[in-house]
């Protein structure tokens, strides 16, 4: 989705409900065919390494949704606190948890309860007790100011957030000075007109 703020005609509440429903279905029924490409094959196509995916439980990987590989331009360091905006089923979050090690923290934020529960279960299976999942929104992150070393997000800010400026401002707020933002997202070569972007189904299916 291009366009940095929501078009006036977009029903934000309907969009939120639609996104929650779409991602809940993927979390609950990952083996079904969905409109959105997902799963291990997608992760491999996007360039995730075998070593990265080896540490991710099947429950998380089968529901993985993403637009690219956020670690293509950097990684978290040992001891870092990482926050994953829209962590979904937890693939990127668990990869980050292994990067930061036992002295770091990996905090996932998602507004889809089914995806959040999948991520929690995946962290338990992976025995990563530095992982914490919080329910929340990209534009109102449940994290203190300047409390995070690295913010990651995959297929969330440019692709799904109607107000990208607000989401980026929140990422900036929670990052410590010198902290890094590692995004992976979808971009379009041909801009969508506002009347097209205002169609909720286009964002959710």
């Amino acid at each position: 989705m291009t366009g940095l703020t929501a078009p006036p005609a977009l029903d934000a509440r309907a969009l939120r409900r639609g996104l929650q429903k779409t991602y809940a279905k993927i979390a609950l029924f990952p083996d079904r065919i969905h409109h959105i490409h997902h799963g291990k094959m997608l992760a491999e196509q996007l360039g995730y390494t075998t070593a990265e995916l080896a540490g991710v439980p099947e429950a998380a990987l089968s529901s993985f949704c993403g637009a690219a590989r956020p670690f293509a331009l950097g990684a978290a360091s040992a001891g870092d606190t990482v926050l994953d905006i829209g962590c979904g089923s937890g693939t990127d979050l668990l990869i980050a948890a292994r990067q930061v090690g036992p002295t770091g923290r990996a905090i996932g934020v998602d507004f889809c309860e089914e995806m959040a529960k999948t991520a929690e279960e995946a962290a338990r299976v992976a025995k990563l007790n530095t992982v914490e999942i919080r329910r929340g929104e990209a534009t109102a992150l449940p994290a203190d100011d300047e409390s995070v070393d690295v913010v990651i997000a995959n297929g969330v800010i440019n692709h799904l957030c109607p107000d990208k400026h607000a989401a980026l401002a929140e990422a900036y707020r929670v990052l410590r000075p010198g902290g890094r933002l590692l995004l992976a997202d979808m971009a379009v070569g041909i801009a969508m007109p506002p009347e097209v972007r205002a169609i909720v189904d286009l964002w959710t299916t």
């Binding site: 366009g3 196509q45 590989r69 992976a184 971009a187 070569g189």
Partner: protein
């Protein structure tokens, strides 16, 4: 993506850089209608200035 990276700079991020585009649609059920907008997946990295206000 230029629009997003420009907004990142407006928010205060520095050292904004982008990675190599990848095909994000291959095999997706929603590929045919989406393909007309030429979507790609891309990594973007940036940093919050050391002072917190560096632009």
């Amino acid at each position: 993506m230029a629009e997003l990276t420009e907004t990142m700079r407006q928010v205060g991020f520095v050292d904004v850089c982008t990675g190599i585009p990848v095909d994000v649609l291959a095999g997706a059920k929603g590929e045919p209608p989406a393909r007309q907008f030429e979507p790609v997946g891309i990594a973007v990295a940036a940093r919050k200035g050391a002072s917190g206000g560096e632009r």
